[in-house]
Subunit: 221 residues, 2 copies
């Protein structure tokens, strides 16, 4: 399997990858199908255990044709990560800039995040289980994006403290607690059929902002 990955690296190094007609709509549509298939296979069987041959069989493509579309197994993994991270970052940037309370903005990000977790379940599964398989520049890019997302969320919690909206001792750990509650949802969401991501987001945020204890609930009205 790793022999195949090395081969694909040589393929990329030759520059052929940049010659592919990535702007072509038909090419991109087929490529998207292959990335979806890969996410499904990686989620079901694991990244290391999924060979290029199985990917080719699932996509009904010979090895050469598969390389034409994907470049390498690792570029597939990288694309799966981008598909989770990029829309999330875009939405987070947009929401952060809105003229709304910190709580309102965090609630919006919660909603976007849970829609990702529920609607891109295979991608999120691969994202959370296999990010350590990314190496070199791809690993750095992933880390940079993750840090950007976490920093944006932490900045909203800080803004809420500055405005007197929140009382938080440790912004970083509070942000990580918030993300943990959301991210882990991928582990059990398939056991809870037809759960609406927006309803779940409201439940999480109500807990996170006002808690479940009755004392003080009346005062919070």
């Amino acid at each position: 399997m790793y022999g195949r990955i090395r081969m694909s690296k040589e393929y990329r190094a030759s520059g052929t990858r940049d010659d592919r007609p990535t702007g072509n709509a038909k090419f991109l549509a087929r490529r998207n199908e292959i990335v979806d298939l890969a996410a499904e296979l990686f989620a079901r069987n694991g990244y290391a255990a999924t060979g290029i041959r199985e990917l080719g069989e699932a996509a009904s493509l010979a090895r050469g044709a598969l390389y034409y579309y994907i470049g390498s197994k690792e570029s597939l993994l990288s694309e799966i990560h981008d598909r989770v991270m990029d829309p999330l970052l875009e939405e987070t940037n947009r929401i952060s800039g809105l003229d709304a309370s910190a709580e309102a903005r965090i609630r919006m990000i919660s909603d976007v995040l849970l829609h990702q977790v529920c609607e891109r379940h295979d991608h999120v599964w691969v994202f959370l289980h296999e990010y350590r398989a990314l190496v070199g520049e791809r690993r750095e890019t992933f880390r940079r994006k993750r840090a950007h997302f976490e920093d944006s969320l932490a900045a909203l919690f800080s803004a809420g403290v500055a405005d007197g909206e929140f009382e938080i001792d440790n912004i970083q750990l509070t942000m990580l607690a918030f993300l943990s509650m959301h991210n882990y949802t991928y582990q059990w969401i398939r056991r809870s059929h037809s759960l609406d991501p927006s309803a779940l987001s409201k439940l999480y945020c109500d807990i996170f902002f006002v808690g479940v204890a009755s004392r003080g609930r009346a005062a919070r009205g």
Copy 2:
């Protein structure tokens, strides 16, 4: 790799497994070392990608000797799951029976859970990533234990509602939100060095019970 697993099943089916001196302290100590090594390898490289040969090399044992200690690769995986689940269930049963408020008992379970996540990090990583590799009776046992743990926790939230301690609309989802916040910690805890599990447990529970919003915080004193 799978050929080897099948072989080990035949080995077990022959009854040889039951003849091993499992009560022997030296045998058990060596076996524990092998399970620890396996957890480390499975966490680092994945269960499917880790062969019996690598396990043998890491433990400096020939294949026959390795089978003598572990029975099969899947029995190792099962044991890793038991090592996370069994102490957790034992503590949860003990704590559930204590004469204390629901909040106090849930805080104790939170503390036990985070100690597991932090101190048995490799085991928890394998537990959360590879439980789907368990099959047949082992899978059923895992599911039964997980359901028992989740039901015990849900029962404490219900008791808190019945006593007027908590205001909760959906006990099941609230329990899963609580577990999600805790369980996902394994993903980032190694980035946060020297974090005390008990301090983190207090932070999580303070959020979960009273929230981070300032409104009403005064009333909650």
